[in-house]
């Protein structure tokens, strides 16, 4: 009797909990909680702190006080900062364009029936899987003023008379960094676009061929529209990664010569950590946010499901 009664009470006590867990809202919040806590701790807090620091004059070893938008005002008169903004936009635009042009070309090549296709694809991925710093060091050597293998080869081929100063002149240095970034970024673009290409049914191409489409028309009317959704996702990611690039620049030029290759990310670090001006560095980093939000928003609108992708209706 007694045990039965206890069993019943336990049942009663347990029932509401089960019912609460059956509730979809509660369950979804519960399931999201671990991820949300992680994100709040490791993303939102540093982000918030960074933005806050940008409004203070904190230096390393000294708590700052709130100075309003003073940091930002001074940045507007800071030619190095303005140059870094210019560099970042230039770097992102040219590198992204090249990465997409070449990446798409490579993806189209790899989408054909080639011998050793799997091996080729693996090789293509190499630049991407090599640690950035490692490839940066390699590029550093490739671009070295005295030991550059590029200059050596060009000279042996009789194309140049004297070694090119890749990293010593601002224009050369920018171009060299863009080339390194493109080299590193192509695999990501190519493999993503290749995945997109492989989702396009071959019968669409056959239908188009029968409809009278030339290879170019097939690319223009079948491949491109079908690739657009994945292309815009990859484009967004690529823009974000390139815009916030730090490692490659810092390892190859450290922003030099004479600050001419600083991106906003490297300048922020330069000012904040080696320079000790945490507040100013944070302000520079925070100044990247509007650009990134703009890029994300434009891709958000670009990414909205196109009408033809919308779900099936029964009517």
């Amino acid at each position: 009797m007694a045990t039965a009664a206890i069993g019943r009470t336990a049942d009663l006590a347990r029932k509401p909990l089960v019912e609460i867990l059956d509730n979809k809202t509660v369950l979804s919040i519960l399931c999201m909680l671990p991820a949300a806590i992680l994100l709040l701790t490791f993303l939102t807090y540093p982000l918030g702190l960074g933005i806050w620091l940008g409004f203070t004059d904190t230096k390393i070893g000294r708590d700052g006080v709130f100075v309003g938008i003073d940091n930002y005002l001074s940045l507007f008169d800071d030619s190095v900062f303005l140059l870094s903004v210019f560099n970042t936009i230039l770097y992102t635009t040219i590198a992204t364009t090249l990465k997409f042009g070449l990446g798409l070309y490579l993806a189209l090549l790899l989408n054909n029936h080639l011998p050793f296709k799997a091996l080729l694809r693996a090789i293509i991925l190499l630049p991407w899987i090599v640690p950035t710093v490692l490839s940066a060091i390699a590029f550093w050597w490739i671009y070295d003023a005295q030991f550059s293998i590029l200059s050596y080869m060009l000279q042996k081929m009789g194309l140049i008379d004297q070694y090119i100063d890749f990293l010593g002149k601002p224009a050369n240095a920018r171009a060299s960094l863009i080339a390194a970034n493109v080299w590193r970024g192509i695999p990501f673009v190519a493999i993503c676009l290749l995945a997109g290409l492989q989702t396009i049914s071959p019968s669409l191409y056959e239908a188009a061929a029968l409809d009278g489409a030339t290879p170019w028309q097939r690319f223009r009317h079948v491949t491109m529209p079908m690739l657009m959704p994945i292309l815009s996702i990859v484009l967004t990611f690529s823009v974000l990664f390139t815009f916030t690039d730090f490692q490659l620049i810092y390892a190859i030029t450290r922003g030099g010569p004479v600050n001419s290759t600083h991106l906003m990310a490297t300048l922020a670090f330069q000012r904040a950590i080696p320079g000790g001006q945490l507040g100013e560095g944070a302000a520079i980093a925070t100044a990247m946010i509007p650009f990134l939000v703009a890029a994300t928003l434009s891709s958000y609108f670009g990414l909205q499901r196109r009408k033809w992708q919308q779900g099936e209706t029964d009517d």
Partner: protein, 355 residues
Amino acid sequence: MATVDIRGVHKAFGPTKVIHGVDISISDEEFVVLVGPSGCGKSTLLRMIAGLEQINDGEISIGGRVVNDVAPKDRDIAMVFQNYALYPHMTVYDNMAFSLKLRKAEKSLIDQRVRQAADILGLNPYLDRYPRQLSGGQRQRVAMGRAIVRDPQVFLFDEPLSNLDAKLRVQMRTEIKALHQRLKTTSIYVTHDQVEAMTMADRIVVMHDGIVEQIGTPLDLYDHPANTFVAGFIGSPAMNFYSGTLRRNGGIWVEAEDGTKLPAPGSVGGIDGQKVVYGVRPEHLAMASGSTGVAAKVEVVEPTGADTLVFSTIAGVHSCAVFSERHDFRPGQEIRLQPRLDVVHLFDAASGQHL
């Protein structure tokens, strides 16, 4: 509209030979169905006619012109794919107009052709929709509409109904046939479904393992199968086969492997003692009176409403009989079935050829 001639065509994918010398000649306005089990090479043959596969040896001509080296778009053919291959990012209208747009046809002509095709297929309300917003049957119609607007010499259909449910398949079957009767465009239709082949074709080409087993009208194939393969493939439920030995002593009959005496028609060829395969269609087995016919042990009875399928063991072989009248059989019951002698088929056991 045109004739299509296939002469000595061979095809191999690497070392794998898939088509070993096929000859088919299709006349103008004809509706020919290529039928066979999967892997028999029928789709490959169709794709070779379309120009989507290279021809290794032999010749294909359309309207008297050899097209071996003609690009698909210049062959003046239209193809309906199994998965429809509609451009998902184009509306129904644009899907149908695409080929004409590529040919730089005038806008008014494109509009007229597309609306005409949409009229024929009942697609007018859907012209602004995207393929995703259509049902399977509607997509199928768009695929056909895309073929119609081009007004090609030949229509090619590659298993166009296999993605539809059974009821819709029957409906679309009739529609395609009606469409052909209206447009009279030479059509080549590939299917693995012999019922589709029987109901739609002017002539059927039965293919198996890369060769043509038999070409003929549906009823011709049904009544006079050239070999055991065609006999077993055409007709549903399939023909019953019994291996045995032809006996010409005491009438003409076949001694099945378990000794059962199977009655054979007097007109049959073959010599005494020849190893044969005895074939009789389920619909040609009737209830025998008294002790005539052959013994059968009922296993399963499947009423379909119109007919009743009775599965039984005859001469140790799992067999099927179809009755249009109703019988009250129980599993395990012993009955006697009488084959209709005039439609019993005998095949040589070794070659499979009809005797």
